[in-house]
């Protein structure tokens, strides 16, 4: 299915990459292996990572099986970042052209922030005085095209990242780190008193009062990422945090 067509198709089913809010992470799930039948029955619909073969819904990706309404899908826990429109992403500026910045957000495609998606009006020969090569930026994906992504910085909270630190995780673990309705990320924020912004592309921005706090947040995030398959993880994290604070 062509890249753009897939984008439209996916609007009919829950966005598994979006904020992780609809997935109950603590539920125990079966593993999906490409080529294996997940469910049989005409009443089921093939969602992300699956396809229909006759009466069967077959896995096309490696991950965890999930059933939501009548959609059968595979939740990936590994692999590259698949960008989607609306995603919040953190990226590094690779290059500057006459009308914008080329940004690396990971995944298969490069991203472009056009000059008129910068929050205010600037001259095209001034670009690098606002955002220079090597800088980190927080943006949103405006649209996905065949050859790349268009970004925007025109929303509240978006912009250049000047302090704090960043941590890189596999983008497929982001929903786990955020948790159902933000439960996990809020737990980590409270435990460390850090500001944490999670890019859907797996780059996480941590800003704390001190180095120790930031490193603590990094450690808890690593803890979550290493156990992404485990059900009942929220409780384990609470215990881990309690141990840390002793």
């Amino acid at each position: 299915m062509a890249y753009e067509q897939r984008q439209n198709y996916e609007r009919e089913e829950p966005q598994s990459q979006d904020m992780g809010s609809d997935i109950d992470h603590d539920k125990k799930r079966s593993i999906a292996i490409p080529g294996e039948i997940i469910k049989t029955g005409k009443e089921y619909l093939p969602g992300d990572g699956t396809r229909r073969e006759g009466d069967d819904i077959v896995a096309s990706r490696f991950g965890l099986q999930d059933e939501y309404n009548r959609f059968i899908r595979v939740i990936p826990l590994s692999g590259v970042y698949i960008p989607r429109r609306g995603n919040l992403v953190i990226g590094k500026v690779l290059d500057i052209t006459f009308n914008g910045w080329i940004i690396d957000v990971g995944g298969p495609y490069s991203a472009f922030l056009m000059i008129n998606e910068y929050p205010k009006y600037i001259e095209s020969d001034d670009l690098d005085s606002y955002i220079a090569i090597g800088d980190l930026v927080l943006c949103k994906i405006l649209r996905t095209k065949r050859k790349g992504l268009d970004l925007t910085m025109k929303s509240r909270g978006l912009g250049k990242i000047d302090d704090g630190m960043i941590v890189q995780i596999n983008s497929n673990k982001v929903p786990r780190v955020i948790g159902k309705e933000g439960s996990m990320i809020n737990l980590i924020k409270d435990a460390t008193k850090c500001d944490i912004t999670v890019g859907q592309n797996g780059i996480i921005w941590i800003k704390g009062a001190s180095v120790s706090e930031e490193l603590k947040a990094k450690e808890i995030i690593s803890f979550v990422v290493e156990r992404s398959y485990v059900s009942g993880l929220t409780e384990e994290v609470k215990k881990y945090v309690a141990e840390m604070n002793k």
Binding site: G91, K92, D104, V105, G106, G134, D135, L136, I161, D162, D163, G164, M165, I166, Q168, I203, V211, S212, L215, K218, E219
Partner: protein, 273 residues
């Protein structure tokens, strides 16, 4: 994603407080795991894991003619390959500068330390000697391939057995081995410690992110000679300058790092025997 200015800044700031992203001190090496016999067709082989960095080294031997100005010595050649499978930064093709530099540094360290008794590798003066080929490959690059490769080379050499040699045909019987080890001085242990300068501080055994953030580096090859720690080679790379005071600091740290590392490597080698 390649390292950003912000991360470099952060790493330097943390270092000023004696902290690193993974909780180590500036002078600490990551956990070392050495596995001998990684490839059973080699005369000797070993994989070394330094944290997540993994390299594999193998020793192959053959017979050939000696160099004209060293008629009673065996020969050695050390090569490093940075494999595309170990990082998205390496593409297939002839070795790039980094790989050649690593191979040469390890070669010098091994030669200048006197670990291998090349004279004992002579079969017939001026005509036939043993040739040692050490090939080291990167399997996963999470920084500090050079130091890991050096340890792998030693482990492969120390666990190697001489292949069978047919005197009548003058050929090696590949795939068959004697029980004899290579002529090595086991007390020598040439180890390379690379120092990286980030901001105003030095650290050893950088992870990939730290390596990308470093301003300059100095690779120091050390070994023991008659109970004393000796420097066999120094290579200062990148273009940042170091004050004489800083160089002295690094030399002091090098001796300390060597002693600690030697103990770790000896221990790991013993465990894997």
């Amino acid at each position: 994603m390649e390292v950003t200015r912000l991360t470099k800044k952060r790493i330097a700031e943390y270092l000023l407080q004696g902290k690193r992203f993974d909780g180590r001190t500036a002078q600490e090496f990551r956990d070392i795991t050495i596995t001998l016999g990684a490839s059973n067709m080699a005369e000797g082989s070993a994989t070394v894991k330094l944290g997540k960095t993994e390299v594999i080294a193998g020793v192959k031997m053959n017979v050939g003619t000696p160099y004209p100005n060293e008629e009673e010595s065996g020969t050695m050649s050390v090569g490093m390959e940075l494999l595309p499978l170990s990082s998205n930064r390496y593409e297939a093709g002839p070795p790039k500068f980094d790989a050649t530099e690593i191979g040469r540094l390890i070669d010098r360290g091994l030669r200048d330390s006197g670990m291998i008794d090349f004279k004992k590798l002579c079969i017939k003066v001026g005509e036939k000697v043993w040739m040692i080929n050490i090939d080291i490959y990167s399997i996963n690059d999470d920084g500090n391939l050079l130091d890991a490769a050096g340890i792998a080379a030693i482990a492969a050499l120390r666990s190697a057995k001489m292949p069978k040699y047919d005197e009548t045909t003058g050929r090696v019987q590949f795939g068959e081995w004697t029980d004899n080890a290579l002529p090595l001085d086991l007390s020598v242990m040439p180890i390379n410690v690379t120092f990286h300068k980030i901001g105003d501080k030095f650290l050893v055994d950088p992870s990939a992110i730290e390596e990308d953030s470093s301003d300059s580096r100095m690779a120091i090859g050390l070994s023991e000679y008659q109970g004393k720690v000796m420097i066999n080679s120094i290579q200062k790379s990148e273009s940042a300058e170091m004050s004489i005071n800083e160089v002295e600091q690094v030399l002091d740290m090098a001796e300390e790092a060597f002693k600690n590392l030697k103990i770790k490597v000896e221990k790991a080698l013993k465990e894997k025997k």
